[in-house]
């Protein structure tokens, strides 16, 4: 089974990358981090940081690609666009938006299938490794660029034996002033 990802290079050519290559590339990245860092916490932090740097760029590409996406008036619209267009465009999947809290500032994205995890089996040496933590960083970085300060974290992970993969997102506050260009 070969999944195709269609991207756009600078010259507007459509470039197709196979799903296997994508999964293997990410896997190589995580495996290298596992070698380079001592604790699972450190590795998770690095993945989040990398994700952040990807996210701040990805949002620019996304907004340029979909100019008709206007300002979102509430978090619910943001969540919808994230799931139905963001995830769809870049990962080819549409997670379910669910588990809203009473205040309406916290929700979950439920992924039935995570293309990053093709072929992956976690080893017992790293029980606290959040393999796909890069996604949390991407969401954090992307939303920061549209003035939303969010916390994003994994609640469930099929790699760890859970039934689904669930990512939770909490809106801390809206940012009024200019945001920093990136981390470190």
């Amino acid at each position: 089974m070969s999944r195709q990802y269609v991207g756009r290079s600078q010259s507007d050519r459509k470039v197709s990358v196979s799903g296997e290559l994508f999964a293997l590339t990410y896997g190589a990245l995580v495996a290298q981090l596992v070698k380079d860092y001592e604790t699972d916490d450190e590795i998770n932090k690095q993945l989040n940081k990398m994700g952040y740097n990807i996210g701040i760029r990805l949002i620019e590409d996304f907004l340029a690609r979909f100019p008709d996406i206007g300002r979102c008036y509430d978090l619910k619209s943001t969540a919808d666009i994230l799931a139905k267009q963001g995830f769809k465009t870049f990962l080819g999947i549409v997670p379910l938006v669910a588990n809203w809290n009473a205040k309406g500032d916290e929700f979950s994205l439920i992924l039935e299938y995570n293309p990053l995890c093709d072929f992956v089996e976690l080893s017992e040496d790293h029980p606290n490794l959040l393999y796909s933590n890069i996604i949390c960083g991407v969401l954090r970085g992307a939303l920061e660029m549209v003035q939303l300060d969010v916390d994003v974290w994994f609640v469930q992970d099929t790699l760890k034996g859970d039934d689904t993969t669930e990512i939770r997102l909490k809106l801390n506050k809206r940012l009024e002033d200019a945001v920093p260009a990136g981390e470190d």
Partner: protein, 162 residues
């Protein structure tokens, strides 16, 4: 025990340097494990011989089938071999109770094994040429054990003579 007569009893994966990375015997045969290690070691030599002769055959073609068929005669078992282009080798051992050729069926098992191995190998946390501990791979091998048993009972239902 009669039901297991033609089932796959042992599956092994050998690295390109000829180290066993995986050897699993079906549960009813566990006591016989040492015997299978010995069979597998002999089988490795036979496979090496077969794959080394590529290129010296007719028309000097480099094409080689992955499936190598039965490797050497044995009273109690049939020992089948399969070698990939990366020189990873698979061995399937069944009981030797029929003179019927089972090449097609065994080749299907090897293909499944090859796919399961490739999936396992793509795990970024698997170090190449080390022991295979993947639970997913274990399940694929269990499926092969089970499939070969159920194929047999199907044959019995259809009244095939063995």
């Amino acid at each position: 025990v009669a039901i297991l007569k033609m089932a796959v009893v042992c599956v092994s994966v050998i690295s390109k340097e000829n180290f066993p990375l995986y050897l699993r015997t079906v549960s009813t045969y566990i006591e016989n494990d040492m015997g299978f290690h010995h069979i597998v070691h002999t089988a490795i030599d036979v496979i090496e011989e077969k794959i080394s002769s590529v290129g010296t055959g007719r028309a000097g073609t480099d094409f080689r089938e992955h499936y190598l068929g039965p490797l050497y005669p044995s009273e109690q078992y049939k020992i089948y071999g399969y070698a990939t282009n990366t020189r990873t080798k698979f061995i399937i051992i069944t009981e030797n109770t029929t003179s019927q050729s089972r090449d097609t069926e065994i080749n299907q098992f090897f293909k499944k094994l090859h796919q399961a191995y490739a999936d396992m190998f793509c795990n970024p946390f698997y170090t190449p040429d080390t022991e295979i501990t993947s639970k997913r791979f274990d399940r694929s091998v269990t499926d092969i054990f089970k499939d070969s048993e159920s194929k047999l009972s199907k044959n019995e239902h259809h009244g095939n003579k063995n």
